[in-house]
């Protein structure tokens, strides 16, 4: 096809479940491209000589390369191409913020819309999985080096995948009973089906990675004990899993959840399928979710799917300052989530049985910019009002889990108790101990954690081979 015609093709929309239907089910919202849609979208890529999109990707996927293969209809080859640098394409195609990474740099975006890189990545990963032709890359000769990876979230899975391919003997230690970290306990089924995470984890197992679930490092064994057991290097990817609360009155009332608990019950424990699954969850009719990030959107949309009549998203700043992805905000609004912006809770009101029945809020206005560069929300005096709710989900961020740091002498941390690690290598203050992902940066994205894992894996390979 002529370039002129290719430039005329509009960005292919993603087929999605109807909002009125999907708001009551847990099936995935976007349905995925058909092969025809994918080929059409792939033709929109003009194959830049110096592709800026690749620079925007934390794991440097050969984006024009895999898109060219899609245009030719070589979907399996396209999947292989991505997997050269990204072990989790089905996950990344779904949850990466492409609009601020690869797609924001796409030259097509200057005059029209950028190429839908994320949707294409997702398409080939799904195609490969459905075809059952998942290819196992060649594994280097065994090095005899043993690597321990603590945590099976995006950072840990990436480190494990990279190092096992270099011939090392890799074991992942996971605290929960299922591997995947935030991909299984945090991100809901309707955004990231758990069967996909399981398939990606299974792929790592096929590569030879051993996964020890239900092993809490810091409790059943310390980092020093791992070295004593013969591990040559340890990667810490324990994430930012400690829930933050606002410390306002009534926060311990029944029906007030941390987002971590609410989502873990629903996602990991499958409480949305209670009583088929044993773990219960409160199915509120009037639910308030506090916060404006992706986790808040996930919690609000989960509450809607659990049968709420009203879900209020309470956020103290305005829409511009919301940290959530635009797509997530858009999906939430389509599903009827009611946004209460420039609003901040000041206390929860309970009944005589200790259950939350109301939330008192203050209206806010935006003042001068704060440390984050965003305009600071300032309370408007006398603007207090009460809203009736029976469930509250607090989604205002999370902190570092101290289990490993507190049991590893000589491991330096910063004032928020995140592990201090070199940005390029993941090297910590302890020899042979590397770290990456949220436990170093604080809450960030799946792909940034994977990027940190990729860099740490390179450095760990160098370290163990020089020992």
């Amino acid at each position: 096809m002529e370039m002129k015609e290719r430039l005329k093709i509009p960005r292919q929309p993603m087929p999605e479940q109807d909002p009125q239907v999907r708001k009551r089910n847990f099936d995935e919202v976007p349905l995925g491209y058909t092969p025809e849609m994918a080929k059409t979208e792939a033709l929109r890529c003009i194959q830049c000589k110096k592709p800026e999109c690749v620079e925007g990707c934390p794991v440097e996927v050969d984006i024009p390369g895999f898109i060219a293969l899609i245009a030719e209809g070589k979907f399996i080859e396209a999947a292989k191409k991505i997997k050269q640098t990204n072990a989790l394409p089905a996950v990344c195609g779904r949850v990466c913020p492409q609009e601020v990474q690869c797609e924001v740099r796409c030259v097509r975006g200057k005059k029209a819309e950028p190429v839908a890189i994320g949707r294409l990545e997702r398409f080939v990963a799904d195609y490969e999985r459905a075809a059952g032709e998942v290819s196992i890359p060649k594994i280097a000769t065994k090095t005899g080096k043993k690597i321990a990876v603590v945590g099976s979230g995006p950072a840990g899975l990436t480190v494990a995948g990279d190092l096992v391919q270099l011939g090392h003997d890799v074991t992942i230690f996971e605290a929960l009973h299922a591997a995947g970290g935030v991909l299984v306990y945090g991100i809901p089924e309707f955004r990231l089906p758990k069967a996909i995470v399981a398939a990606e984890v299974d792929y790592l197992k096929k590569l030879g990675v051993k996964i020890e679930t239900s092993n809490v490092i810091g409790k059943v064994a310390t980092v020093d004990e791992l070295f004593a057991e013969g591990y040559d290097a340890v990667f810490l990817g324990t994430g930012a899993g400690l829930p933050s609360f606002m410390n306002i009155p009534g926060e311990n009332l029944n029906g007030v959840y941390s987002a971590n608990e609410y989502l873990t019950r629903s996602n990991l424990m499958k409480a949305y399928r209670f009583p088929e699954y044993d773990t219960p969850i409160v199915r509120g009719k009037n639910v308030a979710v506090i916060g404006g990030g992706n986790v808040a959107m996930d919690a609000a949309r989960t509450a809607m799917r659990l049968g709420a009549d009203h879900v209020y998203l309470v956020y103290r700043r305005s829409r511009q300052e919301m940290p959530a992805r635009i797509e997530e905000i858009h999906h939430a609004e389509e599903e009827g989530i009611e946004f209460h912006l420039l609003t901040n809770p000041i206390r929860y009101i309970g009944n005589d049985k200790g259950w939350v029945k109301g939330i008192e809020c203050l209206r806010m206005e935006l003042g001068e910019p704060d440390d984050s560069g965003r305009r600071r929300p300032v309370p408007i005096k006398g603007s207090e009002f009460i809203k009736e709710v029976d469930t509250v989900v607090v989604a205002i961020g999370s902190g570092s889990n101290p289990l490993v740091q507190s049991t590893t002498p000589g491991l330096n941390t910063n004032k928020w108790n995140y592990i201090i690690a070199d940005e390029e290598t993941g090297q910590t203050s302890r020899e042979g101990v590397f770290a990456g992902g949220d436990i170093v940066t604080g809450s960030a994205t799946v792909i940034l954690a994977m990027g940190a894992g990729r860099k740490a894996a390179r450095a760990m390979h160098k370290y163990v081979m020089s020992k």
Binding site: T264, G354, L403
Partner: protein, 284 residues
């Protein structure tokens, strides 16, 4: 990791003891710590205190009371069966030191978690007075084991069918605190929340430091979810990582009781469904 059941024993009408093959946890655990287990793929994660361990043999003992579906299911497993997941040891160990005379108080199935603490308190050289109680004689568990690690022991029953007629808190007050018979330096109490609350009310009156072990609702038990939060001395703490033991005089027991009732309806629904299925021979 999964764990095989090596032995099973019924201690009373609805209290069971399981000995598990769990060498890594058995080696590491200290008095006061707990495990979280899951029986099957659809199962919930349930926290249970470790009652005993034999590190040399790699064995771990748990004792539990049937209170709902998961514990009912657990009580039906037998030696040779396996638990799908077992994780631990979780929580902070009990602070064990020689301080003089320690009263170790256990109510109902709470005697099981009190036992390893009593043993450790005795081993370090304290004079140990144990008070164990239950509603009636046939619900008293581990009397012999407790006797073996105590200098004095009182057994109480609410209905007077055995030993002292009354609650453990009454026995402690009447036999020791009121009489000044023996100066008690510290009390460790584990049992149903109303029992721990009543006991703390008594020891507060006499200014005796009292440690209680709380059994809040938990999910992950690694500090991630906050389901187990409890107010202690006006501050929110997580039972799973900050506890399970706290200064009993600082615990907000009213809040704890309310929070333990969050899922009462669902728990009942689940248990009834399980019992019906079992009667119809369908399994669950």
């Amino acid at each position: 990791m999964s764990a095989k059941i090596l032995e099973k024993q019924q201690l009373s009408d609805n209290v069971f003891k399981l000995v598990l093959d769990a060498p890594k946890i058995a080696k590491k655990r200290k008095a006061g710590q707990f495990v979280v287990l899951r029986i099957h793929e659809q199962g919930e994660r349930i926290p249970l205190t470790i009652a005993d361990a034999d590190p040399a043999k790699g064995m771990l003992t748990i004792i539990f009371q049937v209170v709902g579906k998961s514990t009912a299911h657990l009580s039906e497993l037998n030696a040779g069966d396996s638990l799908l997941d077992l994780v631990g040891p979780m929580g902070q160990p009990t602070h064990i030191e020689k301080i003089g005379t320690v009263a170790c108080v256990g109510g109902g199935v709470g005697v099981a978690p009190v036992y390893p603490i009593t043993q450790a308190m005795k081993n370090i050289g304290n004079y140990v007075i144990s008070i164990i109680g239950a509603r009636s004689k046939d619900l008293i568990i581990m009397e012999d084991e407790m006797k073996a690690v105590s200098d004095e022991i009182i057994v109480t029953t609410d209905d007077g069918s055995y030993g002292y007629h009354g609650f453990v808190s009454q026995a402690l007050e009447e036999k020791y605190l009121m009489t000044g018979n023996k100066k008690i330096d510290m009390v460790v109490a584990i049992g149903p929340v109303p029992m721990m609350r009543a006991l703390c009310d008594v020891t507060k009156k006499y200014n005796v430091p009292t440690v209680v072990s709380l059994n809040s609702i938990m999910v992950d038990a690694t500090g991630m979810c906050g389901a187990c939060r409890v107010t202690v001395g006006g501050k929110t703490r997580f039972v799973c990582v900050d506890g399970p033991e706290f200064d009993g005089h600082q615990v907000d027991f009213k809040e704890l009781i309310d929070r333990q009732r969050i899922y009462l309806d669902q728990e009942k629904q689940c248990y009834d469904h399980y019992c019906t299925c079992r009667q119809q021979g369908k399994g669950a």
